[in-house]
């Protein structure tokens, strides 16, 4: 056979190819933004910092006020806030994943290649997860950090916020992926 030098990829090799693809695309996107849209990038960065700082200040004052009245209110506030964000994440990840799996041209390209469909789904899932969740971190961190400051939490509290936020993202994103894939499968 003419294609005798080609072999189906192992799962690890597939993941490696997709990782390199994402890195290359991210690199070119970042380079293009810095070269051609410096004002836009600067504005987004500055406004994000201002937004984060404003939220931090707001939550700091809020927690200080609530802590002096009734500490249990904070627990309710956290539950309501993260529940709302999780519902939003289920929808946003689901919409992104559905669009890229079933309506996007990339999936059609990849499905004609000798890779496992599972690898394609995992690739698109990671992509949707990234796009849907950066806002979660942007909104979640200015709430958790001032809480730690107000309650005088130890440094381990801040250290474990990152895996906490990541797991809070993964659970709704996985639910969204099930919602997208199971009915079609």
């Amino acid at each position: 056979m003419r294609t005798g030098t080609c072999l189906p990829l192992t799962p690890d090799a597939e993941a490696g190819v997709f990782s390199r693809l994402r890195v290359a695309i991210a690199w070119h996107t970042l380079r293009g933004l810095l070269a051609e849209s410096r004002l836009r990038v600067s504005l987004v960065a500055v406004l994000s910092v201002v937004f984060w700082a404003a939220l931090y200040g707001l939550f700091h004052e809020g927690f200080a006020f609530l802590d002096s009245i009734h500490a249990e209110v904070i627990s309710l506030l956290f539950n309501a806030f993260f529940s709302s964000l999780m519902v939003m994440l289920v929808f946003s990840t689901g919409i992104l994943l559905y669009g890229s799996l079933y309506c996007g041209p990339e999936a059609k390209l990849l499905l004609t290649m000798p890779v496992r469909p599972e690898a394609i789904v995992a690739h698109k899932f990671r992509e949707a997860l990234w796009f849907a969740s950066w806002g979660f971190v942007l909104l979640g961190s200015p709430m958790l950090v001032p809480y730690g400051v107000v309650r005088g939490a130890p440094w381990t509290f801040y250290l474990f916020r990152l895996p906490f936020l990541l797991s809070s993202v993964l659970i709704p994103a996985t639910l969204a992926a099930f919602r997208c894939i199971v009915p079609v499968a």
Partner: protein
């Protein structure tokens, strides 16, 4: 190399492809013709694994495209009607990505990438981002990508759309060379002159059925009209007049008829 074995595809109550059987051997260039909505693109999508047949089976180099899709895909190069690229990759990076996806060894991949860049005259823009490419440049890059792994089977869906005359010539020359080297080509086209010039056999699809399968000469012999070119023959067949389905015994395509 390519076998359609009583293949049908339905979308709800609508039958897009109905009981098509055909075989395309090594080294043959087969052109599939037909009006819009005849089932050409559905047939191609089933062949490259984008759709599953509702009935029947499709095999590429002996591998069933539904049961052994990865093995079948290793032997197939595909050029869709609309080129799909990553805008944020350069042409060369895209070719490397395709080489990686087909599990090509690095050294061989580098050589073949250089070979295809030279063959399709991509050198001037191979290191630019694909977002800056014209449609013709994208199409040439997709052609290069489809041939990178030296496929046994090349599937082309309206391959000449967007190509300038020089690129068309390059593609025609490459198709001739590759088919002489043993590659089978399955091509859907509206360009009748292209089919007449290039194809060893043509198939004409109408409303999901293969109405004719054979050489252009056999088509001329079959359609009893005073027609000298493929356009007249094609219009005669697709207007529902002269010929019945190839399977009613009037097709002249031998083993490929239905």
């Amino acid at each position: 190399m390519i076998e359609f074995d009583h293949v049908s595809r339905t979308y709800g109550p609508k039958t897009a492809v109905s009981d098509v059987s055909l075989a395309i051997p090594r080294g043959e260039l087969f052109a599939l013709l037909g009006p819009n909505g005849a089932g050409k693109t559905t047939s191609i999508k089933m062949l490259v694994g984008l759709l599953r047949p509702s009935r029947g089976a499709i095999r590429v180099c002996g591998h069933d495209v539904v049961r052994e899709p990865r093995l079948a895909h290793l032997h197939v190069g595909y050029v869709p009607d609309e080129p799909t690229l990553y805008d944020k990759l350069t042409g060369r990076e895209f070719l490397w990505f395709i080489a990686d996806m087909f599990g090509m060894p690095r050294h061989a991949a580098g050589q073949r990438i250089d070979r295809e860049i030279a063959a399709f005259e991509l050198g001037e823009f191979a290191d630019d981002l694909a977002e800056s490419y014209s449609l013709g440049m994208k199409q040439r890059l997709v052609f290069a990508a489809s041939l990178l792994h030296d496929p046994d089977v090349l599937v082309l869906d309206e391959p000449m759309v967007g190509l300038d005359p020089r690129s068309v010539r390059i593609v025609k020359d490459l198709l001739r060379a590759r088919t002489q080297d043993g590659m089978a080509v399955f091509m859907s086209t509206h360009t009748l002159a292209m089919a007449e010039e290039m194809a060893d056999r043509v198939g004409i699809m109408v409303r999901g059925q293969l109405r004719f399968l054979g050489t252009v000469a056999e088509l001329r012999a079959q359609v009893a009209i005073d027609a000298t070119n493929l356009e007249h023959l094609y219009l005669e067949l697709t207007s529902g007049g002269a010929a019945g389905p190839a399977g009613d015994g009037r097709g002249a395509g031998g083993r490929g008829t239905i």
